[in-house]
Amino acid sequence: MSSFSRRKLITTAVAATAGVSGLAAAARIAERYGLIPPDHGGIYGPGKVLTYASHRLLTRDTFAREFPRSQISRRPVANGEVPDDEDFKRLQSGAFADWRLAVDGMVARPESFSLAQLWSYPSRSQITQLICEEGWSFIAEWIGVPLSHVLNVAGILPQARYVVSFSVQRDWVDSIDMADALHPQTLLTYGMNGSDLPVGHGGPLRLRVPRQLGYKSVKYINRLTVTDSLKQFSPGGSYAWYAGI
């Protein structure tokens, strides 16, 4: 009996060690292949890691659904407040002629783009659905320049892992990984449904990340920072950083 329980104890110990080191090895491999989200800590970390890792493996070359023009929502929902500070009002009264988009961080040529510069780049349009985490959704045509084009103009450094978006609304700072930043459907949008992007929808410049929920599509963008770590940018805030759900 005692030799049996000793054997059982040894077997259990070996199995536990193998399990823990297997998990540690899996974590290291997942980290190397960019399958660990920045907000992987805490009790909800395991769920976030499983979601992000499986989505990154599943959606490597996939495209958000696009819709025919006939399915565009008659009244797109402009959620949230329009900025009402003096700086924004001054820019708005000047038809945003002085709006700048700064691109800095891990880029070879940091630059500040005017809207006219962004308009001069090849424009893309897509008819996609914006899905809010609250539950509602609408379909619109979004017109803009692919984020990847602007990043390539600035020259992304090889160690870059994330792109952080800053808004005129100072509490709305969010970031995406390079997989979404370089995705062809990720646009810096300046137009919607055939005209200029309305202020209520984030005009003059809104990021569109159609494979994630609406809160990742940051409005009133005036700065992009390319980085290899989100430590100083408190990823996600109170909401999950990855929102492909």
Binding site: G47, W136, S238, I245
Partner: protein
Amino acid sequence: MADAASVRSFASAVSKTTSLPRHPAIVRITHWITTGCFLALLVSGAEIVISHPRFYWGETGNFFTPALFKLPIPASRSSVPTGYGFVLPDQNGWSRDLHFEAAWIIVFTGLLYTISGVVTRHFRRQLLPADVDLNWAALSRVLADHMRIRRPGAAEAGSYNVLQRVTYLFVIFVLFPLMIWTGFAMSPAVVSAFPGIVTVLGGHQSARTIHFFASVFLVMFLVGHIVMVCRAGFKNRTLAMLTGRVAATPKEGP
């Protein structure tokens, strides 16, 4: 809730008298993990729903489009017209985190349960109704007993009756898979890889509405399940799902 001491004393009392094996360990473990996850999903799901308690059919739906139906409850966002003069606190941050974490655990638990149910022939022996039970006379008798909430006899202490079998199979193989499917169908990333799972349902908002109705059916099952457990003897049946054994001649019941 029975404390550990009373569980132990009951278990020893049961084994001293005659007790029958009832639930295998894998069924008991997966049952309680599923219970915990389901409650977490229910609470967090309700919390998410109150941020927009309106439902739609088709691809899109929002404040500007007519609702299929509205829940007569206040909302946690001021942007939703509810008819109430106040707004509930927004708890979506932790609710969404808890919802998806519990979803992962319940999916893994469900996979473990399903694989073991096939391998150990649990489904075939315990859940697939016998041919003799699948006639109207037998079914209506069991249904009538349930409608009168009659206590089950001693014969039912050791196995499931036909109504239980059909209900459990429906919950395991229809409602839970439907919840998981419609959950995935609401994910813009998953749908970018498998667009068919949402287009076949009629669109994003249809998936959300079906997700809601399936959860209502699961809550109805939960209520019925608890009522039947109480009627059959709450302590006896709950301990059977904890210890795996059931008293051969339960004191309660005719």
